[in-house]
């Protein structure tokens, strides 16, 4: 039950994108299509999972003063693994995500979870935390990408959904569309929470 809570919190109450507002750069930049969003999400889950495990394993031996450089080196190692693997097996995805694969290193979610969670908890709960946070990130990213791809390109995951009588709004694929979508989505979630509170009391 406790574990389930740990997992769910990353998706809903502490969603890294919509609630904590962490790691926004890749969210806005790679949400141009659902395909890119899922690729990016999986890359982040992998790095988050591995770094959380390693950080949690060595948490008793790391001197407090130099923990940040150590965490960054661990994260950078796994990012390099993802970068090279993706370049080898999924060259197209690698090309369209481009700069944002190496930039997973400075994604605040990963260092944030290493610092706030994995450095203090056991390996098993760190794994659950990583999976929850990673899933929450991927869901948020895919949600934004869904709006942008359907409105901007008329497709979802490459499948045409709005074929007739619909002129794609190119703006949604370009940079302003990303800002509008995330702004409205966060506003909507705030409204939903506000509504739920009134309803409960």
């Amino acid at each position: 039950m406790q574990l389930m809570k740990e997992f769910i919190k990353g998706i809903i109450s502490e969603n890294p994108v919509f609630r904590l507002m962490l790691g926004l750069c890749p969210v806005l930049a790679t949400s141009t299509s659902v395909n890119n969003a899922i690729g990016m999400g999986l890359a982040v889950i992998f790095v988050l999972f591995c770094s959380n495990v390693i950080v949690s394993l060595i948490r008793n031996w790391v001197p407090a003063k130099i923990r940040i450089p150590i965490y960054i080196s661990i994260i950078a190692t796994f990012v390099t693994i993802v970068d090279l693997t993706m370049a080898g097996y999924f060259p197209e995805l690698h090309k369209s995500l481009g700069l944002f694969i190496p930039l997973i290193v400075v994604n605040c979610i990963i260092l944030g979870r290493a610092e706030a969670f994995a450095g203090k908890h056991s390996v098993f709960s760190s794994i659950i935390d990583a999976l929850g946070m990673g899933t929450g990130f991927t869901i948020a990213l895919t949600a934004i990408a869904t709006f942008r791809e359907i409105l901007g390109n008329g497709t979802w995951l490459g499948i045409p959904v709005l074929r007739t009588h619909f002129e794609p709004v190119l703006l949604m694929i370009l940079s302003p569309g990303a800002f509008f979508t995330i702004g409205l989505l966060i506003g909507f979630l705030n409204w939903l929470e506000h509504y739920r509170k009134i309803h409960h009391s």
Binding site: M21, L24, C25, P26, A76, L103, V105, L174, F179, G183
Partner: protein, 209 residues
């Protein structure tokens, strides 16, 4: 020719592919530190400073230590064949930037306490600002030479500061506006950033020469 190239890089870094509004780099400080004009200016100056130095240093690290070339220092010092260490780019750059930020912080603290007081609190934040690592990697990806990298770093910093200051000015006014409750704070800041991005999109047709 060189001057013209530098001009193109500058205009492109500030307006056409603005770091925040077009490339989506450095959004955390853009949303987080843009609440008043003074702190936006301080953050902007710190970013310009660090991005210029980081561009120069990472360029040197990449071309003199990681790439296989006759200039490779590792090969020269140890009298071995030049190794190809380009796969270490991400790790090397992030460690260099983290060290550099710490170093810059200490130097400023010693040499100019006044500057340290105004920039000090922003410097540690910059390590995890993706704009700094982003500009270093972009310089390499675009095959810029040393001077071009330096100019690109500096001008990208200016572009970031421009966007940050515009945003801070708008948000100070926005405090007085009557915004729907659910949209207050970050959501409306994103919508405004979208409007600014829309305005900056107008520069994308710009051609020089």
């Amino acid at each position: 020719m060189e001057i013209k190239m530098l001009l193109i890089i500058s205009v492109s870094a500030i307006f056409v592919s603005n770091f925040v509004l077009h490339r989506f780099l450095g959004l955390c400080p853009y949303i987080g530190v843009s609440k008043n004009l003074d702190s936006a200016l301080g953050m902007g100056m710190a970013v310009i400073f660090v991005m210029s130095i980081a561009s120069a240093v990472t360029w040197i690290i990449y071309y003199y230590f990681l790439v296989t070339s006759p200039m490779n220092f590792i090969a020269r010092w140890f009298h071995i064949d030049p190794p190809d260490l380009t796969f270490l780019r991400t790790i090397a750059f992030i460690l260099v930037i983290a060290t550099l930020v710490q170093f810059v912080e200490m130097v400023i603290q010693k040499l100019s306490p006044g500057l340290y007081r105004s920039l000090g609190i922003y410097l540690p934040l910059i390590t995890t600002n993706c704009a700094v690592l982003g500009v270093s990697i972009l310089n390499i990806d675009k095959n810029y030479n040393f001077i071009q990298s330096l100019v690109n770093g500096f001008m990208s910093g200016i572009g970031f500061t421009l966007a940050l200051i515009l945003m801070a000015g708008l948000r100070e006014k926005l405090d007085l506006a009557n915004v729907p409750k659910a949209m207050r704070g970050t959501p409306i800041a994103f919508i405004m950033a979208g409007c600014m991005a829309l305005a900056f999109l107008g520069f994308s047709g710009l051609k020089i020469g």
